[in-house]
């Protein structure tokens, strides 16, 4: 399989440094305190946030910060082959712990002592870069819930195909590529890396080029997310009318 043609086009017609069609929305679910959907091409993820609400049970009662809990699920129908992954599946657990760690690094949990924040992420359609899309959806939902965070956080996946760094791998590229891949999430304003997960053998000099491309990807994704959040804020402001004191 020729993932990158000598003409410089990927199988789906993108050039190496192009994202797929990106769409996102916030406030998509009625019951959750914050919710969002995030789409990259044929990958679609929804996320819901419940909280912060008062923690129940002994374990978290005396906490001096908010307890962030995550659940992650992939719908059985989301991939080409129907597959029901158990909650205990390694792939599920890996993404779940990545989401939790990344959110903990971003949410100002110390401002909300004795509370619990539940973040639920559900993959509806899977076509590569699932982890990055999930984290983006989760962040949007957290922001939609009005939870204070350090900075806007965005994630993307980059990989090396035929020695060329490519941005935003779809499922075919993830499966067929023999090169290394890297998922990165960063605080786009602070320019700080939050998640850096590399798979496959990677030459040292390759890391730098990949990381540079990933940073560019995160910035582009972050820009799109920011505009969605701003639009939503504007809509809310209009709906509420002028502030009365």
């Amino acid at each position: 399989m020729e993932l990158l043609s000598p003409e410089g086009l990927r199988q789906d017609g993108r050039r190496p440094r192009e994202l797929r069609n990106l769409q996102s929305a916030v406030d998509t679910l009625g019951n959750a305190d914050g919710s969002a959907t995030f789409e990259l091409g044929n990958t679609k993820v929804m996320a819901a946030v419940f909280g912060p609400r008062a923690a129940q049970g002994k374990s978290s009662g005396g906490r001096r910060d908010a307890d962030i809990r995550c659940e992650f699920a992939i719908a059985a129908f989301s991939q080409s082959e129907r597959k029901q992954l158990s909650k205990r599946d390694r792939r599920i657990l890996e993404v779940r712990s990545m989401l939790k760690e990344a959110l903990k690094a971003n949410v100002l949990a110390e401002l909300m002592p004795g509370t619990t924040i539940d973040v639920y992420v559900q993959v509806l359609a899977a076509d590569g870069s699932i982890g990055a899309a999930s984290l983006n959806a989760a962040f949007l939902a957290v922001a939609d819930a009005g939870i204070p965070v350090k900075d806007l956080m965005a994630a993307c996946v980059v990989g090396l195909v035929q020695d060329t760094p490519i941005l935003d791998l779809n499922q075919m590229e993830e499966q067929m590529s023999r090169g290394p891949s890297l998922m990165m999430a960063m605080h786009v304003g602070l320019k700080k890396i939050v998640v850096f997960q590399a798979d496959g053998r990677m030459p040292v000099e390759g890391v730098e080029t990949l990381a540079e491309l990933a940073e560019g990807g995160c910035q582009a994704v972050g820009k799109a997310m920011r505009s969605v959040l701003l639009d939503n804020t504007r809509k809310l402001a209009l709906a509420r009318g002028p502030v009365r004191l």
């Binding site: 020729e2 043609s5 000598p6 003409e7 086009l9 199988q11 789906d12 017609g13 993108r14 192009e18 797929r20 069609n21 091409g41 044929n42 080409s80 082959e81 076509d127 779809n170 075919m172």
Partner: protein, 959 residues
């Protein structure tokens, strides 16, 4: 800039799944021509000044590559839909097409029509994928047509009648490749390059002057069964699948997993258009139709009368009567067949599962017209392949006059059931027949030997010259400094790629140390580099009589790796400790730095051994080593190692003409055997050590135990002289060979050994994880384990073994590729093919030089009969290392069978003239007259004639 389109594709992957992929359409796809201001100048390839642009459809790109590759074809637009279709259908055609589009000196542009906003189309309801793709190509052509100024016509090339018509309806200038080639009056040879296809054939039929054939030609072959029927038939056991091995074009044999015995396929009709190497499905014939082993293959040609048949008669049928030249061992297969008594299962081909037509083509020459036949102006010709295992190939050419005395390359395009011979087309001319350079090209092509210069990427892997051992090498704790040892090398004269060097010395404890030092090639040849990939592909250096085609670039081969005298070199050393009685008490391996004190030839080393006055350290060492080697050799023989003989000849080459001036048997000295013994010892030791460390990924070499049937030809001739050969084990065979002596006939034993050598199968490289332990054995060496370690400069197998050994010693990690069983198997399979091809090419080069040597020379020589046939004898001429047939009954002019003058006694291997005067028995000494017979247009063949031995000068008598 991105538009999003989705298309849905279903594939089967264990079941049925729905696959969704995005398909983005763009507005920034370049058209590759400076005539389009929107096209990116950096990628433009098409010329502003071309007289026209060409757009090729998929079938043209697939089947007309020779035409496209011609330098007169430029300014061609290849659409991405065409590339994709070609890639799916034929990987090698895809590579060739990609080479064309990547070449900087060719103007072939890839237009990514499938992602262009204006040229992407979706299938119409009911439109097949093929039709949709054809339409996409026409849409792209039309796009160019409208975008280009009127001064730049766009020509759409297709050989498909339907596509042609539709293109014309779309207002495109569309033509067939044939039509276009004819239009190109500037380059008349283009017409010849057009591959025969349906369209071309139809045109031919119409215009053929000899024509007059009806529209419907007579069916010669049975139709091949459809794939589904073949698959079902194989499952049910009525058909059998295997790879066809053809000794000649009209006969093949097949080993099938599903059948115990090898099956024969006799005659063109039964072969049903299958070629050597094709994977075929066969159906067994009823037993009453098995013809048994005649001495002559019955012709199964259809009833005479057609023009095709005339050709076949002229071709001289079987071909092994007018044998040109025979390398030792080459035709043992033919012999093995004919001599086996009884009937063998016979079958006919019902279908071809995988064609093995060579994309690189077949070397051959035009079949000259028969005497009295006027073929002036004819365009339909038969090409006689150089290798007779391939059928004649019909081509269309207008340059027959110019090609008549040339070796040409042709490829096969197809083979219809109503055509006696396959259809092909001319590709290129190699040169004049018989010319040394031309024939060398032929043998390189036939054996698929890559003579292309190394790519810049490969050269980039070579350290710059002058190269020297550095302080870092000496300081490396993994490398021992062995420069103080009395090391020397022993090789054939003129050897520049010195792989191995040796030493022996006394140790303080009274024992001796024996060392074998091998060039440390893997220090320079790193896994995964461009050079490593290239070396793996080449597999081996190829040695021709006066040419060497290297596996590694010259600076490595001749200088940096070569263990030359008096310079420091890196080596991989094996060191043994021996008692004075020759008992092995220790062995170790190390990477080292050595300094060889002398590079001897075998003769020089032998002279030092033989000259008792030489008492220097090296000479003494050689003597000790030789004594030890002899001891080991005797021990190995006692264990059942075979001492075989394969006569090698040596040419004395005229330095000016590069032609052979004299030819003689290669002399084997003690020193040859000494070096061989040392190398065997090193190889066996390395095999044992690496297998122990890596039971699943050691690279070994095995020599399968031959089936008893393979020895039948040897046993038959030996029995005729009262000698019995026991083949129950290699030990038994070895003893039999030792016992096969005749009083006063020293050469008899050598002859028997030569014949025994021919009964052997090829030794093969393999990965230890790939075979059962019981199959590791090397039969010829009577060794349970063997590998190749000692020639890494010229054999890639040794490179892999070096890497495994280095990993065994913890000097370097095992390359991950060695653990990839499937990947390694592909590499190893290639090594076996390359190894065999290199051997064949070497032999062919020797044959070629033999032929040149006998040119304009008539020689009388002493010969020995090796086989008796019904109308002649096969003789071996030791002096020149050649074998050939002496026809006692000359062929009648008209090809009819002459009256039988001779009777043959197969049991006694004797042929007797009916008047009782002459009786020839196998192993008899006979005199032969050797000369070259020149036929039409430089076609030469070697002719052997029986002479009375009285006419042989005394000097030519063998002992």
């Amino acid at each position: 800039m991105l538009q999003r389109k989705q298309f849905v594709k279903k594939t089967k992957k264990g079941g049925v799944v729905k696959v969704v992929r995005e398909h983005y359409l763009r507005d920034d796809i370049s058209s590759g021509t400076p005539l389009d201001p929107e096209s990116d100048p950096a990628v433009n390839k098409l010329s502003r000044d071309a007289s026209h642009y060409l757009v090729a459809d998929t079938n043209v790109a697939l089947h007309q590559l020779d035409f496209l590759e011609h330098s007169a074809i430029e300014d061609v637009i290849i659409t991405s839909v065409v590339l994709e279709e070609v890639r799916h259908q034929n990987q090698s055609a895809y590579q060739r097409l990609r080479t064309l589009t990547a070449a900087s000196d060719r103007r072939f542009f890839v237009f990514s029509n499938e992602h262009h906003r204006d040229t992407y189309i979706t299938a119409l309801p009911g439109e097949s994928p093929n039709d949709r793709n054809d339409r996409a190509i026409r849409v792209a052509a039309k796009w160019y047509d409208t975008r280009m100024p009127p001064s730049m016509p766009v020509i759409f090339l297709t050989n498909d009648a339907d596509n042609l018509r539709k293109a014309q309806e779309d207002g495109l200038r569309a033509m067939t490749v044939q039509g276009y080639a004819q239009m190109r009056k500037d380059t008349p040879e283009l017409v010849d390059l057009v591959a025969a296809g349906v369209t071309a054939e139809k045109e031919n039929l119409a215009s053929d002057s000899q024509g007059g054939k009806g529209a419907k030609r007579k069916r010669i072959y049975e139709d091949h069964r459809p794939t589904a029927a073949i698959t079902a038939g194989i499952k049910r056991g009525i058909y059998h699948q295997g790879t066809l091995r053809a000794g000649r074009a009209q006969e093949g044999r097949l080993v099938c997993d599903s059948l115990a015995d090898e099956v024969l396929i006799r005659g063109r009709v039964a072969l049903n258009r299958a070629l050597d190497g094709d994977v075929v499905a066969v159906e067994l014939l009823p037993e009453e139709e098995w013809t048994g082993d005649g001495q002559k293959t019955p012709r199964q040609a259809p009833s005479p009368g057609t023009e095709e048949n005339g050709d076949e008669a002229a071709a001289g049928g079987d071909g092994d009567d007018n044998q040109v030249q025979v390398a030792p061992g080459e035709h043992l297969e033919d012999d093995a067949w004919a001599s086996t008594g009884g009937k063998r299962p016979q079958a006919k081909v019902v279908g071809i599962i995988k064609r093995n037509w060579r994309s690189r083509g077949y070397a051959g020459s035009l079949q000259p017209p028969r005497e009295g036949q006027n073929r002036a102006g004819a365009t339909s010709w038969l090409v006689v392949p150089v290798e007779k295992r391939f059928p004649f190939i019909r081509i269309q050419t207008r340059q027959a006059d110019a090609l008549m005395d040339k070796r040409i390359v042709v490829v096969i395009d197809g083979w219809e059931a109503d055509s006696m011979f396959p259809q092909g087309h001319y590709v290129r001319t190699l040169g004049v027949i018989g010319d040394k350079d031309t024939e060398t090209e032929v043998l390189l092509l036939e054996n698929d030997i890559n003579t292309a210069p190394f790519s810049p990427a490969v050269h980039a892997c070579v350290p710059p010259l002058p190269w020297a051992v550095s302080e870092a090498h000496l300081q490396d704790p993994r490398r021992e400094d062995l420069r103080g040892l009395p090391i020397c090398s022993v090789d054939p004269p003129g050897c520049k790629d010195i792989d191995d060097a040796l030493h022996i010395r006394d140790l303080p404890n009274g024992n001796m140390e024996l060392g074998v030092h091998i060039a440390d090639v893997t220090n320079f040849l790193l896994p995964g580099t461009a050079m490593d990939d290239e070396a793996a592909r080449r597999g081996t250096t190829v040695y021709l009589v006066q040419r060497r085609i290297d596996m590694l670039p010259k600076p490595l081969t001749e200088d940096i790796c070569s263990l030359r005298a008096n310079v420091d070199r890196l080596a991989f050393s094996v060191l043994w400790e021996l008692t004075l009685d020759g008992e092995l008490v220790g062995c170790r391996f190390t990477k080292s730095v050595i300094r060889s004190r002398a590079a001897f030839t075998y003769a020089e080393a032998q002279a030092r051994i033989d000259d008792a006055r030489m008492t220097d350290e090296l000479s003494e060492g050689l003597r000790k080593m030789n004594a030890y080697a002899k001891k080991r050799r005797a021990a190995r023989a006692a264990a059942g190692a075979l001492q075989l003989a394969s006569p090698e000849v040596k040419f004395e080459i005229d330095t000016e003409t590069q032609n052979p001036m004299d030819v003689a048997m290669y002399q084997i000295r003690d020193t040859n055997q000494m070096v061989e013994e040392m190398m065997l010892m090193a190889n066996v030791t390395v095999a044992e050590v690496t297998l122990r460390a890596f039971p699943a990924c050691a690279l070994l070499r095995r020599h399968p135990v031959p089936a008893p049937r393979q020895f039948e030809p040897l046993q038959q001739v030996a029995a005729a002289t009262g000698v019995s050969i026991d083949v129950s084990s290699s030990k038994a065979l070895s003893d039999s060979l030792d016992g096969a002596v005749r009083m006063g006939d020293a050469y008899f034993n050598t002859l028997i050994r030569i014949l025994a050598t021919r009964c052997m199968t090829q030794a093969l490289y393999f990965n230890s994880g790939q075979h059962a332990e019981s199959e590791y054995v090397h039969y010829g060496l009577a060794a349970p384990l063997y590998t190749h370690f000692t020639s890494p400069i010229r054999r890639y197998a040794d490179v892999l073994v070096h890497r495994v050994l280095a990993a065994t010693l913890d000097l370097a990690p095992l390359p991950p590729s060695m653990r990839d069983a499937a990947g390694l198997k592909a590499v190893v399979d290639n090594l076996n093919v390359r190894h065999r091809n290199a051997q064949m090419a070497g032999r062919a080069s020797v044959e070629l030089h033999t032929l040149i040597f006998f040119h304009e020379r008539i020689v009388l020589a002493d010969a020995r009969i090796t086989k008796v046939r019904s109308k002649g004898v096969i003789v071996f001429i030791p002096k020149y290392g050649i074998e050939g047939t002496i026809h006692l009954t000359p062929k009648a002019e008209d090809g009819s069978e002459p009256p039988a003058e001779y009777t043959m006694d197969e049991q006694k291997q004797t042929i007797r003239h009916c008047d009782g005067q002459l009786a020839l028995t196998v192993f008899d000494k006979v005199a032969v007259k050797i000369q070259i017979v020149t036929g039409v247009a430089h076609r030469r063949s070697l002719s052997l004639e029986w002479m009375s031995r009285d006419e042989l000068p005394e000097s030519e008598h063998m002992e």
